[in-house]
Amino acid sequence: MNDCVLLGHGGGGRLSHQLIEQEIVARFGQGPLQTLPDAATLELDSRRICFTTDSFVVHPLEFPGGNIGDLAVHGTVNDLAVSGARPRWLSLGLILEEGLPLATLRRVLDSVQRAAEQCEVAVVTGDTKVVRRGQCDGLYINTSGIGEAIPGFALSLSRVGLGDCILVSGPLGDHGAAVLSAREGFQMQNGPLSDSRPVHRLVQSVADLAADIRFMRDPTRGGLATVLNEMTAGQSYGIRIRARDLPFSPGTNALAEMLGLDLLHVASEGCLVLLCAESVAAAILARWQALPEGVDARAIGRVTDQAGRVILETAIGGQRVVDVPSGELLPRIC
């Protein structure tokens, strides 16, 4: 086999077959994918399922702390988890650029495999296409996911009440900062590391407290600021958070200070934001902190009566509005 992806790998002939057998079936062929049917046949225990899809187009494909492969698994698994579901099955759609080194593809697929195992999900169906050089940026991935709803979760913003607590499971903005620093080639000692990781165990660890959990989200694109604004938009309540309680990693913080980025606007890929009744906040934090992915979990604020407003108490005790970012995160002039 050549050492890079050729147009013929997507042509449906022998090369295609080889690629699928050697790279896909070898990794994911234990279950329904084994005989490469046109569709996977799945059996459910539950009557309520969650179904989601996401496409991944990150540049560079590999960055400190992860690559597009584990990101594509974690992103979809996390969307299911924060909806109160136990992730079960994934599809894997690959769009490959002619000329992509096969070694890169293998590293990415190894990551998909590892991440899927770690998340206890099976890749049960998929598709591979090859496009001409220049028509895609190396490799795009789409994953769709099916999860079974965990009984007890009734997530709805209509159940939010004054004094409810906002919790986050770990440092904010690590993924966005890591990708940015890799993209721009910043050479930083102890620089940012992506937090690409699953949050399903964090959700499952608090399933028995589900009745008092109002809402969950993973703060990906747009960061915590976007999630908090989504939680309050058009509602009769607001949210107040405290800067001194927000967890940030030192490397991420350093990059943000240098570039003038507001980390509330920067993506995480392995963090959970949860809104719950005060009565269960301490128990949730204790369970999270006992898991490696929740060691840095914190309570960061509360629900207030300031309708629709997200307010930050700043590090020095002032206060300001937390707004959503308007578009691209752009470096400032000086």
Binding site: G260, I311, G317, R320, V321, I333, C334
Partner: protein, 369 residues
């Protein structure tokens, strides 16, 4: 590094300033006075908004934002020229803030979407790298900025000349802070009692540059850093000067700023650049407030090299950015603020740049937190 910064963001120290400023406010009120302090620099504007510093000020002290965002004072005609060059196949290298600034008709972000090569840089040196990687075309660096930015851009030009690279040029809109301050202070319609002088601009030009404002116009001046405690300390210092009727230049940012500034940077700037009249969006033309390439370096001037005729361009007539930049109105007093003019669809430059007063107020203080 972050631990070092945290030292300038301590809540207990900030509470102390809150108490002191409240006491100063009481004394001003007793004297029947209210004072107007202007933060000149866009990075101060951002930090003030980001850390909620207006919360710390008593009613007798008002803080207005000055013209210190280089993006905000750039004419739309400049953007038009950059877009023209992008249309000719040149690579436009720019700091990110410029991307969404409205030109007369369109922005660089739209030009990029239409196929123009627009590259966002974190350092002027990226222009050299781009030029090396693309010998077939020319890299035009958008040389916008105050003294802080001018120094590293000129250092880049110096490297271009030393390394005999011929496919880099500058589209200049350099601005000098002191002439703009002089114009504002001399404007009878604007009341400025004290200036929170910029941090990094002062590192280049030196704290002594502000002496004429204190000595001739009686304006209190404090050079302050960008951290919240720096700013609170600066505001307290300005108020104290005014309470004691003893305006002078106080350099509180001695860890970075010297009285005489950075001589090496000044020499480099002088070698390559000459003062010239410059047009400031919203303020008009201010004599000797710009810097342009000396004639002997004209071959690195994109305007000269490509025979572009720069025009001031067309500004939306309802845009009040000029009044905001002069500190005459707060952003929320502009009828377009947050309605027709929004960070997602900015009409005026103050809403575009993250350092712009309107963007800072929209982002951090809409309607008062």
């Amino acid at each position: 590094m972050t631990r070092y910064i945290e030292g300038f963001r301590k809540m207990d120290a900030a509470s102390h300033f809150r108490t002191t400023l409240a006491e100063q406010g009481r004394q001003l009120a007793e004297q029947g006075r209210s004072i107007h302090l202007m933060e000149v620099c866009g990075s101060h504007t951002m930090a003030i908004a980001r850390f909620g510093i207006r919360d710390f000020l008593p009613a007798a002290i008002s803080l207005v934002s000055g013209p210190g965002c280089p993006v905000c004072v750039t004419d739309p005609g400049y953007i038009d020229a950059a877009i023209t060059l992008a249309g000719q196949g040149k690579i436009i290298a720019t700091f990110g803030d410029m991307l969404r600034v409205p030109g007369s008709r369109t922005s660089l972000a739209e030009a990029r979407a239409a196929g123009g090569r627009v590259e966002v840089c974190y350092s002027p040196l990226t222009a050299i790298e781009l030029a090396r990687n693309h010998p077939e075309t020319e890299v035009v660096f958008l040389a916008v900025g105050f003294e802080t930015t001018i120094a590293p851009v000129v250092a880049m030009l110096d490297a271009v000349i030393r390394q005999a690279i011929d496919n880099v040029s500058l589209l200049t809109a350099f601005k000098r802070v002191p002439p703009a301050l002089s114009a504002l202070i001399a404007d009878p319609e604007i009341q400025i009692d004290g200036l929170l002088c910029p941090a990094h601009v002062s590192a280049i030009i030196g704290a002594d540059a502000y002496r004429p404002y204190a000595e001739q116009y009686g304006v209190a001046c404090v050079v302050a850093g960008f951290e919240p405690l720096d700013i609170l300390y600066g505001l307290q210092g300005l108020t104290q000067q005014l309470l004691e009727n003893r305006p002078h230049v106080d350099n509180q940012y001695g860890r970075v700023v010297k009285a005489e500034g950075n001589r090496q940077a000044q020499r480099l700037m002088e070698h390559y650049l000459l003062p010239a009249d410059a047009s400031w969006r919203g303020l008009g033309t201010i004599p000797a407030s710009g810097l342009v390439l000396r004639p002997e370096f004209a071959r690195f001037d994109a305007v000269h090299r490509h025979g572009i005729l720069p025009t001031p361009g067309r500004i939306n007539p309802r845009c009040q950015c000029g009044e905001v930049l002069k500190g005459k109105i707060r952003p929320a007093q502009c009828p377009l603020f947050g309605v027709a003019c929004h960070p997602d669809k900015p009409l005026g430059p103050c809403m575009v740049s993250s350092e712009g007063s309107c963007a800072a107020d929209f982002k951090y203080a809409r309607g008062g937190a």
